[in-house]
C-alpha cells in the first residue's frame, strides 16, 4: 500500500466517523477497525443475529487469535475480516479503507491485495504445481508472468519449500501442503494473514512446525489473525479475542 493511495482513501471516505488510523508518519497503524458490527441472517420466518455489535481494533504487526465454540459467530467474524462477506450494520475499516459498503468485485480486489487466506484443508489446486498454486493470487492481481515467478519463488523460499516448487500437492506431505498454502497467502504481501484452523488437518508434530512458521512470520513483521477453537493453538498468539453468542466475551493481551 503506498502513501498516495492511503491519502486518496482518506479524503474520499470522510462521511462516516472515521477512527484515527494513521500515525504521525502517515502510515496506517490500525489495520483493522471494527465498529459496532452486526451480522444478521434472514432465515425466512426468523432473523438470526450471528454478531451483535462487535467492536475491536487490530494494529499493524499484531498476532491475534480469535477463539470461541462452534456457533459463537467466530466463522462469521472471520468471513467479515477476510472480506468474503459484508456486515449488515456497522463499519469495517481495513488498512484505511471502509470495506463495509463494497460490492463483490471491489471485495475481490481487496481480498487480492489485503488478505492472505490459510485454510484448514489447504485448498490447493490438485493438478497444479506448488509454484502455480502460489502464483494464483498474482494472476488475479494482474502481475506479469516473469514478476510472478520471482515473487512466488520468494514466498516459497520463506516457507522453505523452494526445492519442491515443481511438485503437485499429492506429491507433498500435509505440512508441506499447508506451507504451500501459507506461501500463497504471503505472496502478495497482504496487510493481514488470516488463518482458519490452520492446524486442524495436521498431526501434532506437523502442527507444531506450522505454528513455528507463524511465529517466524510474526517476528518478520506480518500481522496474523488465527481463527481456532483449540486453546493451545490460540495460546501461541499474543492476544486472544474470545467470542460467545455473537459478542466479544474477552479481549486479552497474553504476552
Amino acid at each position: 500500500m503506498t502513501e498516495a493511495t492511503i491519502a486518496t482513501s482518506q479524503t474520499s471516505a470522510g462521511v462516516v466517523a472515521k477512527p484515527n488510523l494513521v500515525s504521525a508518519d502517515g502510515k496506517v497503524q490500525v489495520l483493522i477497525a471494527m465498529q459496532n458490527i452486526w451480522k444478521t441472517y434472514d432465515m425466512g420466518a426468523e432473523k438470526v443475529h450471528a454478531l451483535h455489535g462487535v467492536s475491536f481494533e487490530v494494529k499493524r504487526g499484531e498476532y491475534l487469535a480469535i477463539t470461541g465454540p462452534s456457533g459463537s459467530g467466530k466463522s462469521t467474524l472471520m468471513n467479515l475480516i477476510g472480506c468474503l462477506d459484508t456486515p449488515s450494520q456497522g463499519d469495517y475499516w481495513l488498512n484505511g479503507k471502509n470495506v463495509s459498503e463494497m460490492d463483490d468485485d471491489e471485495l475481490a480486489r481487496i481480498r487480492n491485495q489485503e488478505v492472505g487466506f490459510v485454510f484448514q484443508t489447504f485448498n490447493l489446486l490438485a493438478r497444479a504445481t506448488a509454484l502455480h498454486n502460489v502464483e494464483l493470487p498474482l494472476i488475479y492481481g494482474g502481475i506479469p508472468s516473469a514478476k510472478r515467478h520471482e515473487m512466488a519463488k520468494q514466498a516459497l523460499t520463506e516457507v522453505d519449500l523452494v526445492d519442491r516448487m515443481m511438485h503437485r500437492p499429492n506429491e507433498l506431505s500435509g505440512g508441506q501442503r499447508q506451507r504451500v498454502a501459507i506461501a500463497r497467502a504471503l505472496v502478495n504481501h497482504p496487510s493481514i494473514l488470516l488463518a482458519d484452523e490452520p492446524t486442524g488437518a495436521l498431526d501434532t508434530a506437523t502442527s507444531y512446525d506450522i505454528m513455528n512458521l507463524f511465529e517466524k512470520l510474526y517476528e518478520d513483521g506480518n500481522t496474523i489473525i488465527l481463527v481456532t477453537h483449540e486453546r493451545d493453538i490460540a495460546a501461541r498468539a499474543r492476544r486472544i479475542i474470545s467470542i460467545r453468542d455473537g459478542l466479544i466475551e474477552k479481549d486479552e493481551q497474553i504476552k
Binding site: G82, L84, R109, R111, N123, R127, L136, I143, S145, R184
Partner: protein, 413 residues
C-alpha cells in the same frame, strides 16, 4: 480480460480435458460432427457452384436459346411439344432483321452420336452440328486454322466440315486434317477448318464436334428425330444488360412467325444462361437451406454436450471457484475463465472437424466425379461457429460459476 486470464483459462480447460478424458472426447466429437457436416456440405455445394459457374462462363457471353419447347431441367417434353413445328432458318432471319437488342443469331441442328471416319480410324460419339456462318460469332467459339462454314457453303449445300480438337486427335493424330477427306455416316466431306480448343461443359466435351453447313444437314437429315436431333436458334444479345429485352423481342417475333393466336401460350421455349443459373441457384438454394438446418441440429447436439460437461466442470470445481474468489478472482474473471474453457473445448472440436471435413473434400475431389472445394471463408465460419457454440452453451454454466458465493463454495465438499 488480461492475457494472464486467458492463459489461466486455457490451463483450466486443458485440466478439464485431462481429468475427464472420455467425457471431453465425446463432447469434442459432438462439436466436430457438426463442423464436419458444415464443412463437407459447403465444400460440395461450393465445388458444384464453382464448376457450374466456370462452365457457364466457358459458354462465352450470355447466349439465349430458342427451341420448340422449353428445355428446363427435370421437365419431360409432352408429345404435343415433340410434334410442334420446328424453328426454321426463316425464323432466325426474322429475328436477325427485326430485333435491335441482339448482335448475332444462329439457327442450327444438332445430332448426337454420329459416326465419323478417316482412313481406318472411326469415332462413334461426335456431335454433328449444322450451322450458318453466324454460329462462330454467336457462340463465341472460333475456328483456329483454316476456315469456318461460309454463306456460300450454306447456299450451295457443300460437303465441308470443321472439326473440333478431340476429333482431330482421334482421327488424324499428327496429320494436318485440312484438305483431307472425312466420312460422316459414310458420306464424303472435305475438312476445311479446325476449331480452337473449347473445353467441356457439365462433363461433356465441346471439342468432340463436327460443324457442317446447315443446308447440307437438312439435305441428309430431312426428319428431325427427337431427342437424337434437335433444332434451335441461338442468339447473342448486345450485352448482359440486353438479355431481357432480347428475350422479349424474340418472343414477339417468334409468336408472329409461328402464328400464335392472341392470348394463347407460346408454342416454343426461350431460355438463357441466366435462366439456367436461376434454376440451378434454386436447386442449390434449397439444398443449402436443408443442409443448414441439419448442421444446426448437429451443432445443437454438440452444444448441449458442451453445456453438460461445463455444468459438471463447474460443480466439480465449486471449491476451487471458492478458493479462486477468496484469492481475488472477480465475477468477470470466473465468467471469462469458464467461457474460455468452453470455447477451447469447442474450438478443438471445430479444428478437428475442419481437418476431417477438408480431408473428406480432398478425397471426394480425387476419387469421385463430384467436385468439392472448401472456400477460405468456410474455415473462418467453421471456427467462428464452433467458438460461438462454446460461448452460447458455455454462458449459463459460466454464469452459474461466477455468481457462486465464496463462503458457500469454500465449504462445499
Amino acid at each position: 480480460m488480461t492475457f494472464a486470464d486467458i492463459r489461466e483459462s486455457a490451463y483450466m480447460a486443458f485440466d478439464t480435458v485431462r481429468s475427464n478424458k472420455l467425457r471431453s472426447s465425446l463432447t469434442i466429437l459432438g462439436v466436430s460432427v457438426g463442423v464436419i457436416t458444415i464443412v463437407f456440405m459447403v465444400s460440395i455445394i461450393q465445388g458444384l457452384n464453382k464448376a457450374f459457374a466456370a462452365q457457364i462462363e466457358s459458354l462465352g457471353s450470355n447466349t439465349i436459346w430458342a427451341t420448340k419447347f422449353d428445355p428446363s431441367i427435370g421437365h419431360q417434353p409432352t408429345s404435343e411439344e415433340i410434334h410442334r413445328k420446328e424453328l426454321t432458318i426463316e425464323d432466325a432471319d426474322a429475328i436477325r432483321r427485326e430485333a435491335p437488342s441482339i448482335v448475332g443469331v444462329s439457327p442450327f441442328y444438332r445430332k448426337i452420336n454420329e459416326t465419323a471416319r478417316y482412313g481406318d480410324k472411326q469415332s462413334d460419339t461426335p456431335i454433328l452440328i449444322g450451322v450458318t456462318s453466324y454460329h462462330e460469332f454467336t457462340t463465341s467459339s472460333y475456328v483456329a486454322r483454316g476456315r469456318y462454314v461460309t454463306d456460300l457453303d450454306v447456299e450451295q449445300r457443300t460437303n465441308v466440315a470443321v472439326l473440333g480438337q478431340d476429333l482431330v486427335k482421334a482421327l488424324y493424330g499428327t496429320e494436318d486434317p485440312i484438305g483431307k477427306e472425312l466420312k460422316i455416316a459414310g458420306r464424303v466431306f472435305s475438312v476445311v477448318g479446325v476449331m480452337e480448343p473449347l473445353g467441356s461443359i457439365l462433363g461433356q466435351s465441346r471439342d468432340n464436334t463436327i460443324y457442317i453447313p446447315i443446308t447440307t444437314f437438312e439435305k441428309y437429315y430431312p426428319d428431325i428425330e427427337f431427342p437424337e436431333i434437335i433444332s434451335a436458334i441461338i442468339v447473342r444479345p448486345v450485352s448482359r444488360a440486353y438479355v431481357k429485352s432480347a428475350i422479349d423481342e424474340m418472343t414477339d417475333i417468334l409468336r408472329r412467325q409461328r402464328r400464335v393466336p392472341q392470348g394463347a401460350p407460346n408454342n416454343f421455349g426461350i431460355s438463357s444462361q441466366d435462366a439456367l443459373l436461376d434454376v440451378y441457384n434454386q436447386l442449390t438454394g434449397a439444398t443449402y437451406l436443408v443442409l443448414t438446418a441439419i448442421s444446426c441440429v448437429a451443432l445443437m447436439i454438440g452444444g448441449i454436450g458442451v453445456m453438460n460437461i461445463m455444468l459438471v466442470s463447474v460443480t466439480e470445481r465449486t471449491k476451487e471457484i471458492g478458493l479462486r474468489k477468496a484469492v481475488g478472482a472477480t465475477r468477470t474473471n470466473i465468467l471469462s475463465q469458464f467461457l474460455i474453457e468452453a470455447v477451447v473445448l469447442t474450438a478443438i472440436g471445430g479444428l478437428l472437424g475442419l481437418l476431417v471435413g477438408e480431408l473428406f473434400s480432398v478425397l471426394m475431389n480425387k476419387y469421385s466425379p463430384l467436385p468439392a472445394y472448401v472456400p477460405a471463408w468456410a474455415i473462418g465460419v467453421g471456427i467462428g461457429i464452433s467458438a460461438g457454440v462454446g460461448i452460447i452453451f458455455g454462458l449459463w454454466p459460466a454464469w452459474k460459476a461466477a455468481r457462486m458465493d465464496p463462503i458457500e463454495s469454500l465449504r462445499w465438499e
